[in-house]
Symmetry: C2
Subunit: 396 residues, 2 copies
């Protein structure tokens, strides 16, 4: 039976191969923080757009060097159009950082090097010709590529392209995600618990683990274990989501029906069952541009699958070129013995270059997961991993 | 003049000393993802709340071991109250994972080890007495502490406490943040650029760099460099924000007026000016429970101050015990020579255990910041940092 399971590596590789990018959308830069660009962006302006003072000081004509007193004929604040300001021989203007340098000036003297006497100034130290002026287009020329398709709009890049006049841009949008909670034993935590029931909690883990996607793109459906109702929902409401994540209903029991639904519908199975612990009965399939995961109902198994498989798929949909979950190599603090030949993900805590595998690894329990900051990955090719051995760890 | 500057270390330490935690709020668990707990939480239930089957299989009385056929008297699905189900001698019930084990049963046989013949079953392999049953309260007892004040509600912890029946909990709330953009040269990027003006872009960097806070808690105000208007706004609208971040208006120029406002108001200065590059004219002050930062207007300087100073302050307000920005020690790929005795933050990119300092370090430019994933920190105590030297890097 274990023979038809695929390996963790194969499952990850099939996610990479099968998930396509969402269709790009033209959006306002106000909504683009953290998204991935779907076009090369060009600057709409020269930056600076004019010769700009780099200092608070005085704009002068360098040819006046040697003149004892210059006549102060006005001032140019930032934001002011100075193109009509004309410096004649022996004249200067007060100028501020970021302000436009009048065409007739070619040098800015720092205010620390100047003594101002009413309407005259005396320059103590002359810098080089052209000093303290940022030339037009020094940073960026109009039409220059300022960001490329595939670039993530991190805070600096977003700000950079905003400064170059970009107000709308093509991005990969946020994925719309439906989380479908199955299990008639599950109750909401605002109710008193009925005999035989437990509180539903997987939705919190699943939604909480999806990064960079606001709540408005995430919707939770609660289904009872009734086949007909759930097929109905699947046919209609779920169609509008880019990614559907089922929680529970995928194991072998008579009441586990999600696999049946997926079979009945035209969902193409990419894989079902991975040689891993926890999370063996993980299903991944697709249907046109929609991706469907069915996670085991055990909380720790569901959350492990979210970090290792589902979030990479979502990142790929949203255009990330590095979409797999970050890993780090750390040295085991204690020897770990495994039973069974499955790969294991173990809740663990980083400690410098080492890693502590935590107690309570049961897939039904989240106690240790709450303390963990990584999952130690052991590929199961051997039964014992020695203290000090370097192992791959998935960052949470 | 450099003598009255404080060091980076001193500035960071004063932020830690001066910022207090926000007043905790009682909130729905639906709104608590990523927040920090402000109380010890106790489980409202035993978990499991009843003796729970760990398998799909058959619940039996162990004393019937040896009987060839057991009579199947029904089934117990997950979510069903089985307290009235009575097994008499020689009887069994079908049972599913997570379902309540009837009181009269003491063992669950895996379905793989059973042959079912209509209303009878034949058990091939008997496990130990009590097998495949999770005892009541095996994971957690009612009243047990399940999370402590100061714990971050990460996905696993949130799900864990939700499963224990917690629906409301005291947390440190999200900070309300006002970003005040000053500078009459700044235009919105939906307009054509007027002579002497540039596009406002710092708001994108500032807001984009604030983590874990939804847009609804972030408000941008655009002010012209007019003192009266801005004082008016500060007096009224800004009062409702936990943190006010000014961008620009804090340097030495005549038109830089933010320091004046802060002086005029009862804002207590904690520090003004840090011995660093970029970001020397950084101001930090407080006014009752409100924290005020004034950032330099240069984009790269403003964003550096966000990562190094402002975000730690916000995290501290929100209850994080580890609120300073994560650092990592990396080895310089090239020798770096500094001029001036100020500490420097250099845009850089991690490459395994090494770090590449990028080109274009000007505080007016964001080109390199967009490519960076860390800031190399050089404390300025010496003029030259050698290739291969280990340096502290702030993660972005």
């Amino acid at each position: 039976m274990e023979a038809d399971l695929i390996t963790v590596e194969e499952a990850l590789s099939r996610i990479g191969q099968n998930v396509s990018l969402l269709a790009p959308k033209l959006m306002s830069i106000d909504d683009a923080s953290g998204l991935v660009l779907a076009e090369d962006l060009r600057s709409k302006i020269n930056m600076p757009p004019f010769r700009q003072s780099a200092m608070d000081g005085y704009a002068v004509r360098f040819e006046d060097k040697g003149v004892e007193y210059l006549e102060l004929i006005g001032e140019v604040a930032a934001g002011v159009d100075a193109s009509s300001t004309q410096l004649k021989q022996g004249q200067a203007v007060r100028i501020f950082t970021g302000a436009m340098v009048p065409d007739s000036a070619d040098t800015v003297i720092r205010q620390e090097d100047v003594v101002q006497l009413n309407s005259r100034i005396k320059i103590d130290i002359w810098p080089k010709r052209g000093a303290n002026i940022r030339p037009e287009a020094e940073q960026t020329s109009k039409g220059e590529i300022i960001a490329k398709s595939g670039d993530v709009l991190n805070p600096a890049r977003l700000s950079y392209v905003a400064g170059m006049g970009v107000s709308k841009l093509w991005c990969y949008p946020k994925a719309n995600i439906a989380v479908v909670i199955t299990g008639s034993e599950l109750q909401k935590n605002t109710e008193d618990l009925r005999p035989g029931c437990i509180y539903e909690s997987n939705s919190y883990a699943i939604i909480g683990s999806v990064k960079n996607i606001d709540n408005q793109y995430l919707k939770v459906f609660y289904l009872n274990d009734e086949l007909k109702y759930s097929i109905e929902v699947f046919k209609t409401q779920l169609d509008e989501y880019d990614c559907v994540i089922f929680s529970g209903g995928i194991s072998v029991g008579d009441y586990d029906f999600v696999a049946q639904i997926l079979d009945d519908k035209s969902v193409e199975k990419v894989f079902y069952k991975v040689k891993q612990k926890p999370g063996k009965p993980l299903f991944f399939g697709k249907r046109d541009q929609q991706y469907i995961f069915a996670l085991p109902g055990n909380p720790a198994a569901a959350l492990t699958c979210m970090y290792v498989y589902v979030n990479p798929a979502i990142r790929k949909m949203m255009g990330w070129s590095e979409f797999y979950t970050d890993t780090i190599n750390l040295s085991l603090k204690e020897t770990i013995e495994l039973n069974g030949g499955r790969s294991q993900f173990l809740k663990a805590k980083q400690d410098g270059g080492s890693v502590d595998v935590l107690e309570y690894q049961s897939s039904a329990m989240l106690k240790s997961f709450a303390e963990a900051d990584c999952l130690v990955y052991l590929n199961g090719e051997k039964a014992c991993y020695q203290k000090g051995e370097i192992v791959k760890c998935y960052k949470l």
